[in-house]
């Protein structure tokens, strides 16, 4: 029995919906009114997650917090291939590094979106510039990856939870006034993520067409 405490417009909740769809994990949803209701700061929710953040996942009585940690949990538990969260030391470190980048993307790109769309008090220019700084490095990393035949953020020839963790707030950046025009390699990578079997959309994220056969 798996239950997701979910807000429809949250990119962090979407990360879990996306991986559970890809791994075919059935789950129930408990909607949490993040905006405008601020239910993630309500007493009942703080009992689940004292940090007052979405998402929370309950799985067989276990209560899990933090989208990156939950991605790792889901991949280890429900992906028998082990490809989504590899555990050889070098790849594991690489995946966790990009999980950390994903949190930086949340702190910048998502913050810009919350400022413009949900009236959160952030320094818009600062968070936008912060997102551009990350996207530049990410674009360079992905561009050189293409030169070396690496399609994904980390080394294996298969996407990992790092790609899932970074994807949503890259795709939603334009809702925060952050154009991806200068990041063509990121744009191509988002096509590839959107073609992963089992991919699902959320509001603001469009499907990609089929790959050429």
């Amino acid at each position: 029995m798996t239950t997701l405490y979910d807000f429809e417009l949250s990119g962090n909740c979407y990360k879990l919906r996306l991986l559970m769809s890809i791994l075919r994990v059935p789950y129930d949803v408990v909607p949490v009114d993040f905006y405008p209701g601020r239910q993630h700061k309500a007493d009942w929710f703080l009992k689940l997650n004292p940090f007052g953040q979405l998402p929370v996942l309950e799985d067989d009585g276990l209560v899990l917090r933090d989208s990156g940690a939950i991605l790792a949990y889901l991949a280890r538990k429900y992906d028998p291939s082990g490809l989504w969260f590899p555990t050889d030391p070098a790849t594991l470190a690489d995946v966790l590094k990009w999980h950390a980048v994903a949190d930086d993307i949340t702190a910048t790109s998502s913050a810009a979106r919350l400022n413009l769309g949900m009236f959160y008090d952030f320094d818009l220019e600062k968070v936008q510039q912060g997102a551009h700084r990350i996207f530049r490095i990410m674009d360079e990393h992905l561009w050189f990856g293409e030169q070396q035949g690496r399609d994904w953020l980390c080394a294996p020839a298969h996407p990992t939870t790092a790609d899932i963790a970074c994807f949503p707030y890259v795709m939603l950046s334009e809702e925060g006034g952050i154009s991806r025009q200068d990041y063509p390699a990121i744009r191509r990578w988002t096509d590839r993520v959107r073609r992963v079997p089992g991919f699902v959309v959320m509001s603001g994220i469009f499907p990609a067409g089929r790959a050429a056969e």
Binding site: Q181, P184, R187, A208
Partner: protein, 587 residues
Amino acid sequence: MALSVSDPTWFPIASSADLPLRHVYHGQLLGRELAVWRADDGNVNVWENRCLHRGVRLSIGVNEGAELKCQYHGWRYANRSAGCTYIPAHPADAPARRITNKTYPAVEAFGLVWSAGNEDVPFAPFPGADSGDWFALRPMPLNAPAEAVMAALLGYAFQPATALDAPAADMQAEPLPGFAVRLTAHAGAERQAAIFFVQPVDAARSVIRGLLDTTPADRLAVLRHHNERLDKLRTRLEREAARQPAPAPLQPSFDKVSVELSTMPEIAIPRGTTLNVVVKRKWTTADGIIGFELAGIDDNHLPTFQPGAHIDVHLPNGLIRQYSITNGPGELLSYVIGVKQENAGKGGSKVLAETVREGDVLAISEPRNNFPLRRDATRTVLLAGGIGITPLLSMARFLDKSSLPYELHYFVRSGEHVAFREQLDLLVGKVIIHTGLPPDAVGTTIATTLGAHSRAQHVYVCGPGPMLETVRNTAAGLGWPEEAVHFEYFKNDKVIDASSTFEVELARSAMTLQIPSGKTILEVMRDNGLIVPSSCEQGACGTCLTTVMEGEVDHQDVYLNESEKRSNTCMMTCVSRARSARLVLDI
């Protein structure tokens, strides 16, 4: 050199490698946003980044391989022409030919894609372009004005690929026309030339695009070498630009949607706008069927067509005949038609088959579609008899490209009569060729194929008259509604009774005409100076379809189905007449 939105200079706007198949690249030049995409045939399209329907960016659309689909309402636009081929909100209708997005010129050369803000000057390669085996570097976008970037690039220093770790190379800079510079690095005996271009994205944004004159042995090391140095240059330029007041963004004027697109069209479309094509290839594609490939006279593409469309071909003996286009989506460099050799005929197809040769020039009409294909069916059945394969082959190729399910049944007398076999072999969908069936077996095969109707199933049929009658009757017997049965006759075999006399009132033109026996409504309208569209003039093609406001129509065509005829709201003015004393038409 100040930037101008009307600058006709060609600039590189993307690397070839930026355009993998089925991707849409988001570009910008001189303030204009661009949607850039490569079709499966390799052609690079550079379009204004705006769907003319609701203005949504086409760069978030879907590259379907031969058509670009807008993400918002699913309008499809053809490779090369950017003409609209399908509107999901009007699935049964053919979009007007005039619905076309704005395109910009495009050339792919030296590993880069080039475009210009207008077509005032033809593309010319940079000086010395033929002296290198050009290798594109990673483009470097930066927030700095093009002039400042250009000035800084004159002082850009790099190492030859073969001497990356040698002492700093001596640099020579030779400015080239436009925003470009040739830089040569000398390190001992090692030498390397490179050309750097600055793409003016907007007043305060640019992209540096570099080409090395040779492909280095260690590509990655050289790419990283330039990436690091260009990144340093970028950091410096952006710091300097941040200290200056930001120049005002360029203000390109976006053409308004043309008056003819934004208003109700005139009912009358002049007949006779023709274009010249050259017979590029003529070949026997099957026993008794000649294939013709008709290409534009210059290198430009031909007009947009939709599956099911036909062209009028003006023959050397003055006759005009209609032929369906067999092409797949986005194939606009030539039209391929099939012509049946008729020994007895009056001479239309005979002239084409016998006297027209490769290299001859023919006049054709723009494509017209009276046999549109829906793309919202859960099951599409295509039934072809003999030469009737031509429109259905085009439909099958469109459905293939969009990965939509269909089955194509092709009825022929024998294997030698199968036309366009090489194209049929390429189809991914279900293709069944029925050879030499006697008429009753054709009937039972059709009945088995159709089966009982369920929602969102459509059948399209083209072939000899008796086969069409069989399909229509069989489909009706199996409960297929008329709107699910789409047909196209080659010709109207009915004997036309032109004996009646009656009066026609043209409501929009405020004219009343007397139609004598022996003359058609179309002829009398033309005698009175009206310009009205027509094509086959025998009630088969549907081009002269006219709305009827009052009066009872004497239908004599084979274009309308029975319920359309019974509705008494439309007619073909080339053959049909009046049962009542008077007709009021919406002309």
